[in-house]
Assembly symmetry: D2
């Protein structure tokens, strides 16, 4: 079998571990050939490929990024997108694809699968919000980076008695905020699933100060305050003439200062959470996903996605997995409120 | 309710996170009082206790070790051990215990529970070999430390074209060896569950050298070679007059040198895997276990142990959990053989 | 002798190591007593002190922050500031002070020394811009954190072929930017000592892209573009109604996008560089500074500051040290231009 | 000019950073060509070379090990060794060499230089014992790894009230032991420069236990006890029939147990100190050394070695640098005894 591999969407620690595992297993145990499709779906549409064999994947296990590149190209946006993908696969004699990506990339995969293109998916998202799988690789790394940053910020907060707001990734789901906030002993955690009361946050902050500790509040980038508490959001040009949107972290720090009179500062972790060497767990999970993707191809179980259930790697139909975004359940969030503002 | 807390057995990253979480939840949400029992069961037998309140657990989330100390004392070994434990509990008005420990400590807990002492358990083992729970805290940290060591050793192995043997913890189960070996891209992984063929290991080593890469072989301390391949194991006095047993890592390195003519060296990670700051995941899991232990006490669900099942924290009867040691299944180990010696 | 210790100015990894070393040496070898002055000069003005003995400094060697707190209070700003300081010293029978701080804090110390208050200084600055000493503690930690962030960002930059701008600390001197940029293999380093040509930076960025690598440009917060290249700097209110100044990093990313058409993103490391556990080198240096401060007090060599010269710890008159800010010399910067945009 | 580069001796973090910096500077600024000599002097004797150009050194800055390989081959041991080296240089049109290595490698370099082979040296030693330079690259990384290990072991030592002995690298000089021991807050530091009194070490251990803290004693592999305190050192065959020498760490732990009755365990850090990613400082220093080596070649200043003096990179004649091994001065060691056993 000749298998194409592509990685779509944002960077994520563990992508190379998946690629390595897919190629090692496919070549060594099944004598397959692989074609690297460059920059996600872009390479599939524009027929840009690269060598992908065992020598190519030597030593990449610990490397962040992806040797295949990635992009957010969506072949379904162009009229003849699907046709061009088929043509690329035909040109290279590709029998099936391994598609590694997040919601968007796998959504495209699902559509193409329905149109007869043989493929299996591997879920990738730093945010851990792809449904059907307990965890996705890259998440543990992002949480570890965020927790380590929170650890560092605690001491600064205490030395100067400032409130520090740490904004982490998570547009639609607060998994990173929750896990990192708990691991980092945050005084408050704000997630997109739950509109927050800025007055309550200020109360947490005040209580911590009165206990003679400094508060570190973790807020997911997609968290929003309750209706009525947010100034209408307009684009603004900053003093250098460039368009810039402040994030929710900046806004919250400003509100804390305004309402409590205490000093507050924001740290936006941004891309730091996406890059670099994956944690041991993410390398383990990514490796297992790659091996499972090959098994799925071997079984011709197309249109499925590898997933983690407990300690087992299983397959779920792409359709099912993408149906629901995995959000932080209210009961889980509630477990940790005992730590807020105290 | 007045609750005693003790940590028994070996050191494990995350113990303090459990203690903190138990105390914060118990005091803040239920107004309970806590008594710290010092050095595991020893303090319960000898009535050695210490203050345990919210101020005492401030700032310990990231600290390795345990503020309560630990020991391997077993109250069941003394005739009046159980009586003395009852007396200690009585002296301090302790209604129930939270027992944090491994197989041995929880085994004692189970016996005492059967004799009417109200308690709940929290499983602790670096080796991840306590049954009934997908993972125990401390395991992720041990794996991360081992994987990081393997990463460091790869470059040295390649610069000098030596085989490096890394001996990791795991007397009865090879979980650390397996997870760290996979995460570290080891050329071979040897676990207690599966007697290894030293000739096969040497073949892996040779193949790697011929591919112009250096082999790093990870071996669990409890791994054993097949019958007939091991010299009878005697204690020996070394050149300084002290008794010393070489471990399986040293033995294997010696065999590799003898049989292949290649140079081989051993690194024994030992205590490095036990100590220090827990990873973000271990702090998350330990924190959840502590909260769940309090919930179990609240529900008067004594004789149970907190456990992880998938992403849920559940309770299992201590008896069930301790029945089986959790060992690496053959099928899981087989998943990764594609990476050995290649 | 009764010695007061204070830490002024911003947080800096290693402060606690200095305090520990001062107290251990002073108590154990000279039988001195110590008084902890809280929050830098504020505690000296307002007479806020705390216990400072050997038990108090146990275990703080690796802790970021300062057990004494810090502030930017300047006693010279109040009319009776100096008098109040004298009164505090008198109230507690303090014979001499150890003043740990940056330019501002030590500047105050110098003035007070000239007015007869016996003290020695220990230089503290993340930015490494205090003159008279080869390095200050905290600098190595800040550089390590920044270099690690740059490592992480490289992979993300390459996966998406974006230019990443990393803004690091350094208002008046580009030491962090230079050291971290070199250690992180940056494609460009911009420092306050040298107004940069934004066109040249764009050329570096373009060249890297054409070599099929992604550019990471490190810019010190105090770096400025050449005259005529910067829009006049006004305060602006962002879309949430709060005052916010974009930094030079944001501005540069915007310019890169505008001028090259490539995508560019900014990461501002901010407080992450100040907090948390100091590196091994910073603990070594801070410890030596503390021991040297005690030696200076013993010799009654007041009005001096501990300093590092090569591998020796020496004393320099506070006046000399504070005369010149230590900036990156042009020749040193030039050494590394071979790496820019290539 | 056509320049050969070789790396001899043991692995050391930063070797690749030196190679990268030499090649980038030599090619980009002077249009030189480079020849990679494989495995140190072995490649020079046996004429084994490899491509060495800018593409070859892309991305190696953070990689441990050396892309050129290394060995302990000494061309002076063979009768015609020097002739064979000349022949290799002639075969490849090599005008000069950059020799990166420790005492032994540079010792050979010095001899060859005296015999007319044009070369410059770059000092490499984890142990920091090459004279003429304040620090060598790789040292900071080894110290950081050792200090981190000591941090981890502290918590385990305290949980179980054991004395932990950490054996670190350093055959002839105790630099790693001293720096890591100070950075790690060790209760005792033993170095080769100073025969230790095992009774005094036991006293340190006892005092720490009585203070209710656990002792961590750091011992350099080359440290020795005072005359009369060491059993005559013989080779011994262990129980598996392989020759094994216990190290000084094992011996010391045994003595502590024997003499104090306390439990003691040893951790031998071994190869962990040599491998993997160099610290930011080591990448900085290695990069500067590489640039300086090229400058020395450009100036035809052969027979010299790059060195660090304070914050300057200078050149010293190889002869001078190799004359004296750099050992820990007694006064420096004495600075830190205040921390032992207390």
């Amino acid at each position: 079998m000749r298998v194409g591999v592509l990685t779509g969407g944002g960077d994520c620690p563990g992508l190379n571990a998946v690629i390595r595992s897919v190629v090692r297993k496919g070549v060594q145990d099944h004598d397959w050939q692989f074609v690297g499709i460059v920059d996600g779906w872009r390479g599939a549409v524009e027929d840009v490929t690269t060598v992908l064999d065992v020598p190519r994947v030597r030593g990449i296990l610990t490397h962040g990024g992806t040797i295949l590149g990635a992009s957010r190209t969506n072949p379904l946006r162009a009229e003849d997108g699907v046709e061009r993908v088929r043509r690329t696969l035909g040109n290279h004699g590709i029998d099936a694809l391994v598609v590694i990506g997040g919601e968007d990339t796998l959504g495209v995969a699902q559509t193409l699968a329905e149109q007869g293109i043989d493929l299996v998916g591997v879920p990738k998202t730093i945010d851990n919000d792809v449904g059907g799988t307990d965890y996705t690789f890259g998440f543990d790394t992002a949480v570890s980076i965020a927790a380590e940053a929170i650890d560092r910020l605690h001491t600064t907060a205490e030395s100067h008695r400032r409130a520090l707001v740490v904004e982490v990734m998570g547009r639609h789901a607060g998994w990173i905020a929750l896990h990192a906030g708990v691991a980092g002993g945050a005084s408050g955690i704000l997630v997109p699933e739950r509109a927050f009361d800025v007055e309550e946050v200020c109360a947490w902050v005040e209580r911590r100060f009165r206990l003679r500790y400094a508060p570190v509040v973790v807020v997911a980038e997609g968290a929003v305050p309750q209706a009525g508490q947010l100034v209408v959001r307009n684009e603004a040009r900053d003093e250098f003439g460039h368009v810039r949107l402040s994030g929710i972290g900046d806004w919250l720090a400003g509100e804390i200062e305004r309402r409590t009179g205490r000093q507050a500062r924001t740290t936006v972790l941004g891309y730091l959470q996406r890059g670099g060497t994956p944690t041991a767990y993410d390398r383990w999970l990514a490796t297992r996903f790659g091996l499972a993707a090959v098994a799925a191809l071997k079984d011709r179980d197309f249109g499925t996605m590898t997933a983690l259930r407990g300690t087992d790697i299983i397959r779920v139909p792409l359709a099912d997995a993408l149906r629901t975004a995995k959000q932080v359940p209210a009961e889980l969030y509630e477990e940790f409120t005992v730590f807020f503002g105290s």
